[in-house]
Assembly symmetry: C2
Homo-oligomer: 507 residues x 2
């Protein structure tokens, strides 16, 4: 192997280490840091980010990448490189290309404006007043336009943004996928709306926090999350973070008056964590030991959360245990009632509380609005009206205020445009992967019902986790299923599942 590759790998290793140190700074900030420490913590984070910037823009990296043949035309380097080598080139060239094209002035200005915009967003959401946030959104969109221009695009400016979160995805590939998904979903939502409704009243009874955690820890152990290589803590917003090859921590929050938040949050984050804990020794400690895209990452969290955790087989195994932990709220609820209740479908205003069926509509709505904002068809001033009218079109209801509408998500205040689509892509991938897994393991539901998840985890490791970022999301998908991303798998999955939950005919 050439010295160029060794240099690239070593720089990747250092970036990877810095990313983990950054993750500890971030984890601590959300979980245990005293409030007063925030100012210096921001400096510490920015210092580490500065070191990452230095690494990703270094002359050493540039010349090593050139030696390996990397260029705009050959982002994976010259022909004949092995999978691991060309993956290093692909990822580090993409970082190098972006960082060296963006003027430091723009990066710093964006960091500053983002910080201001986030504060303003918090205030605006609290006051339910979009007008407070509007000028800051406008400014962030200007800076984003500048970024798009500096980085350059071929087919669509939005492609530049997608690439930050879902490398390989383009507006041209995502648009028809979402269009088909949207039609299928609207149809199903209508049928469910016309069917007899599910009673989910029990989910808002009282569930003791300590017992929720106890149950969550039992489930984590059962599905193969290793507490010797991770932790479960509490934070305002649940997340998973990787602090080391053997240190992937998850957080959740508990709502004593809403059952779903705690346990499904835990299983969701565990899905992310199992991915990060499953990288092979071959890529351990280097830049490839990372999820290959946010969509693939989300496929893992959603598969565990929804296809396994909200499945009937899972609760056939665990419902008696749950009932014994929570006799009061669950004594009069049968397994079937419980299963239908946790799978109730209902148009609602808040994305993060949405059911499996309507969830993707929330995403498509944001995707369409983002596209219009980026192309300039929609101005920030008209965003709330666009949101509300599209919402009424998609869901048949109109948000009562901006806090429950256009201001609900943090992403736009962080300048994270192009992020939302990955949530829906994750749902679609999860169904496509689960179908392949079921084909390879026809008795998968029996395994879940028996509470034995070893083979499921082994399959996921072999086909998705182990390779980390060696393959792109598209390659992972084709390797597993033999075809590109196809929303048909997801539509078939929800048609079947929710057709049964709601007793729809012909499904």
């Amino acid at each position: 192997m050439s010295g160029g590759f060794e240099a690239v790998r070593e720089i990747g290793r250092r970036i990877h280490l810095l990313t983990h140190i950054n993750a500890l700074l971030g984890w601590d900030q959300e979980v245990y840091m005293p409030d007063g420490a925030i100012a210096e913590r921001a400096e510490q984070l920015s210092y580490i980010e500065g070191l990452v910037y230095d690494e990703t823009t270094s002359k050493d990296l540039g010349s090593a990448l050139r030696e390996l043949g990397a260029s705009e035309e050959a982002p994976r380097g010259k022909k004949g490189l092995g999978d691991i080598e060309s993956a290093h080139v692909r990822i580090l060239f993409n970082m190098y290309r972006k960082q060296t094209k963006l003027p430091k002035q723009l990066v710093m200005e964006t960091a500053k404006e983002t910080s201001i915009a986030q504060n303003k967003w918090v205030e605006a959401r609290k006051k339910k007043d979009y007008k407070l946030f509007e000028p800051h959104l406008a400014r962030l969109l200007e800076l984003t336009a500048e970024k798009i221009e500096k980085l350059g695009w071929k087919e669509h400016p939005y492609d530049v943004l997608l690439d930050d979160f879902e490398p390989g995805a383009t507006t041209a590939t995502v648009t028809p996928v979402f269009a088909r998904l949207r039609e299928g979903l609207k149809d199903l939502v209508q049928q469910i709306g016309a069917a007899e409704q599910v009673d989910a009243g029990f989910v808002t009874r009282r569930y003791d926090r300590t017992k929720q955690e106890q149950f969550g820890r039992n489930v984590l152990e059962a599905i193969g999350y290793d507490f010797n290589r991770g932790r479960l803590d509490i934070s305002a917003h649940p997340f998973t973070t990787t602090l080391g090859a053997d240190d992937v921590r998850i957080t959740t929050r508990y709502n004593e008056n809403f059952f779903n938040t705690g346990i499904f949050g835990i299983i969701h984050e565990a899905g992310h964590a199992l991915y990060e804990l499953g990288f092979s020794d071959e890529i351990r400690g280097g830049i490839l030991a990372d999820g290959t895209s946010l969509g693939i990452h989300e496929s893992q969290s959603r598969m565990w959360e929804n296809m396994i955790g909200r499945g009937f087989s899972f609760w056939k195994r665990y419902y008696a245990k749950l009932q014994s932990l929570f006799p009061e709220p669950l004594q009069d609820i049968s397994l079937e009632q419980f299963y239908r209740g946790i799978n109730k479908v209902e148009p609602s205003f808040i994305r993060v509380e949405a059911d499996e069926v309507t969830y993707n509509l929330h995403i498509i709505l944001r995707f369409e609005l983002e596209l219009a904002l980026i192309t300039g068809e929609l101005s920030p001033a008209n965003l709330p009206d666009a949101w509300n009218s599209k919402f009424a079109d998609f869901f048949g209801i109109t948000p009562p205020n901006d806090a429950e509408g256009v201001l609900q998500d943090i992403h736009w205040s962080m300048g994270a445009y192009g992020y939302f689509p990955t949530y829906a892509l994750g749902n679609l991938y999860s169904a496509q992967f689960f179908t392949a897994m079921k084909k390879a393991m026809p008795d998968i539901e029996e395994k879940i019902e028996a509470g034995t998840f070893t083979e499921i985890l082994r399959w996921l490791r072999e086909h998705i986790h182990a390779s980390g970022s060696i393959y792109t999301a598209g390659e992972v998908c084709r390797n597993i299923s033999g075809s590109d991303l196809d929303p048909g798998y997801f539509l078939k999955y929800i048609d079947k599942k929710f057709g049964a939950v709601y007793g729809l005919s012909g499904r």
Copy 2:
């Protein structure tokens, strides 16, 4: 101000930031990190230490220091620099001088051997077998001799080691101080041994852990530890660590069958933390925002722990509260009995469990053995015999095995020779400072009894905390008391306190 100083200050600021990031990595490792994460955490720590090494050996630092006139002969730089400027030069020149004189090979070899020696020490202590540790101690002493030779010395080779922990202290200044202290202590210990003994049986009754913590938190709040700028957690060995200007955390451990461990551990660490939280805005965020020496640091922890926390006035205030929290173990114990019990003096084998009087003898013993090891008068092979015979001489008892004797402390396995004296220096400084404070605040005992610590903390901030490392330990001592360190203050303090506890005549 010259550009040279701005460069020095900026490098100091970066080192300071890196030190805080390192502190988070260390804190997390001791408190919350999953076991499996240890291997990569070591890499992360070593990476950050590498960055600190790069900063402290940089050509930029060297030339900026030269511009300010720093040299072996003028370690504070040229005349006419202000206090803050010359303190920057003093500290960074010392770092630069040491790091550039030590060959990287020696530093790396020492790090490797230390890591091995620590593991061997753990094993040896467990097996109570010094022989397992001996060759590693011998190797570390060889490397230490090499370090001393590279760094160079004038009066005594041990001075090089003292300088790492107590800058300004020398073998020549410490030796007579300890000699006088030793005589005074032996005399007092003998008199106490001949007096009627104190019954401290109640301290080993059962004290619920949760209530210990509750009481500890109340005390922390009362004495002015701000939980908005810190935390209290649990770790195997109590420590205080600074993760930011507004983030100084303490840890403790609780022993349900030994009252003293938890609460006095908490007050001790709080004394360290209050120092680190009290730096003035003038030095905030820079290299001077640090304790000026370990001895001065220890003076703060020991003053709060012993002079305040183990004082009669303190328990006049808090004993009723303690009794109400622990009615079972304390119902039959009067305030006077309690006070005498927590101040029981008794020769014992383990330093960290020693009382205020015998504690310093443990230190002097180690100091004398270290001196002999460094000069070569004592060989590692003869260390256990030397330990045991000196122990018998000092305390009248002989350790039953190596684990309770020569193997009890971690320091020698870490290569930390020259560290132990700072513990005793801290005790001596604390009495000298407390005397000065009492002179300025004659009603200090009434304030403690009233539970109002504001003025005490204000005095400590003004005279010790605020200036951080601007002044050396010696300067701080002279500024406060008008004289150099004088063990007479401490001897007078313990004579009076323990004379009363034991009803000794003529004291």
